[in-house]
């Protein structure tokens, strides 16, 4: 045995069957999207809290597909926010500084909440820009 990879363990994913959970997630997304249209209220689903099998995840990913927008956020590790083929439905994946996934959500919103800068931050930015300009001039 030359390396650890030679140990003959081949874990098969128990994925022959869909649990039916993925379908439920999809219909919840549809509900949230409807609510977004009606009231403008955003919603999200914590994917980690659901016992989705690998097959469920693949199925869900295939169904949601890919949209036009991908946002990368560098904040204490990388976060990737991808629009799905359904406008307003986002896949949000947060990683830590070591690139481990720490949380995963489906967010149903015009723009994922975390993308929008906070008022205080804009205030700070404005002040900082003003002072920077002063220094230049």
């Amino acid at each position: 045995m030359r390396s650890i990879n030679d140990i003959p363990i081949h874990v098969l994913s128990p994925d022959e069957t869909l649990t039916g959970q993925a379908e439920a997630v999809l219909s919840e997304i549809a509900d949230l999207l409807g609510r977004l249209l009606e009231t403008g209220e955003a919603g999200s689903i914590d994917l980690r809290s659901l016992p989705l099998s690998p097959a469920d995840r693949d199925w869900l990913n295939a169904k949601l597909g890919r949209g036009e927008v991908e946002i990368v956020l560098e904040a204490g590790g990388r976060s990737v926010l991808t629009e799905t083929a359904y406008a307003g439905v986002w896949k949000v994946q947060h990683c830590d500084t070591e690139e481990r996934v720490v949380s995963e959500f489906i967010e149903v919103a015009y723009i994922p909440a975390i993308v929008r800068p906070a008022g205080a931050d804009i205030e700070n930015a404005y002040e900082k820009l003003q002072s920077d300009l002063k220094q230049i001039s």
Partner: protein, 361 residues
């Protein structure tokens, strides 16, 4: 760090962005099984939170719990939370030693009386008036009673503090008991596990900081957010169990294919913990993923609950009395049989040939 400083102040000083903080809160909410919408509220509350004083007392323990927490992660949300508390006494970690450290303890207790959080790891020895385990000449029992008096809440960290753990296992020579066996008048959170999962303590602290209360607990005093479901319920090998595919030995085809370890003694179905979702070693894996069944370490008296390698459905030695029982059963039956025969013979002997007059009364 100033005790009056809020987390938000601290964050800004450290140059941490608001988005980073929001991201932590989202992850924390997910961990604590709170709805994603709670993240924003959490972020706001946490931002305004003040640092509580924490006193950490180690009793009959192996330091595994401390190791688990301190070695868990690179600075992340846990690190942030630990920055948020004022850890005023922790023997293993503190720089002070000897009298100095004892003074630190007394000071912390006095200054924050009624407000500090008390963390205990290790069981409490009660044998010989607690003489089996002493710190600076005082028994754990004594120390616990004193420290508990001024505590706002107690966190029993690890299975020893929560349930007595391995020191309490048969034959329990030190008379080890759980914190909750001694302290009855304070809110106690049991964070069981041998060792417990680091993010669980972070989650409990975050909850305490955010909402000012302890999280919802199960019947054994454990936070439901983490101990609400069994390992089995969230195990990725669960479908194999449902399909009836079981590894029979640790090196057979089934084991290689990653089938269910139920028959190899996995205690997943009776063990409430979050290992299957949070995992261990920087989220690398957890015991079942590494090919070994769960030993049920977060449950009371797991050490004495039948062998680790004996399937849950298998009784220990059920045919123990069967031989003797069979003998007694046959003997009882035979005795009745003899008596019955005698009774029938007596009836036959008492038989008088019926004549016509015998059928009229």
């Amino acid at each position: 760090m100033d005790k009056e400083e809020t987390l938000l102040d601290h964050m800004e000083r450290e140059g941490m962005s608001r988005r980073t903080f929001l991201k932590y809160c989202a992850s924390l909410a997910s961990l604590m099984a709170l709805p994603p919408s709670a993240a924003a509220a959490m972020a706001e509350a946490l931002g305004k939170a003040k640092r509580p004083s924490v006193i950490w007392l180690p009793f009959q323990e192996c330091t595994g719990c401390t190791e688990s927490i301190t070695r868990s992660h690179t600075p992340s949300v846990e690190g942030l939370i630990f920055d948020m508390i004022s850890l005023d006494y922790q023997e293993t970690l503190m720089a002070a030693a000897g009298h100095q450290s004892e003074e630190a303890l007394q000071t912390a207790m006095k200054e924050n009386f009624g407000k500090y959080v008390l963390i205990v790891d290790g069981s409490v020895a009660t044998g010989l008036d607690g003489a089996y385990s002493c710190i600076a000449g005082r028994s754990n029992l004594d120390l616990l009673k004193e420290a508990a008096r001024g505590a706002a809440a107690i966190i029993a960290l690890g299975s020893c503090a929560a349930f007595g753990g391995i020191p309490k296992a048969n034959p329990n020579p030190t008379g080890a008991v759980a914190v909750s066996d001694i302290i009855k008048d304070k809110p106690i959170v049991n964070i069981s596990g041998c060792p417990p999962i680091p993010v669980v303590i972070t989650g409990v602290l975050a909850h305490y900081l955010t909402f000012g209360t302890l999280p919802e607990l199960d019947g054994l005093g454990r936070p439901k957010a983490f101990y609400g479901e069994t390992i089995h319920d969230r195990c990725y090998r669960r479908p194999f169990y449902d399909q009836g595919k079981f590894a029979k030995t640790f090196d057979d085809e089934g084991a290689r294919k990653g089938w269910c370890l139920f028959e190899l003694g996995c205690k997943g179905p009776v063990t409430y913990n979050a290992c299957a979702t949070t995992k261990w070693n920087d989220s690398t894996s957890f015991p079942i993923e590494s090919g070994h069944g769960c030993i049920g370490c977060s449950e009371p008296d797991f050490w004495d609950a039948g062998g680790f390698y004996k399937a849950l459905s298998t009784p220990a030695n059920p045919l123990k009395y069967v031989g003797a029982a069979a003998a007694i059963g046959v003997a009882a039956g035979a005795a009745v049989s003899v008596a019955n025969r005698a009774s029938k013979n007596a009836a036959k002997a008492a038989h008088e040939k019926t004549t016509l007059s015998d059928i009229e009364k």
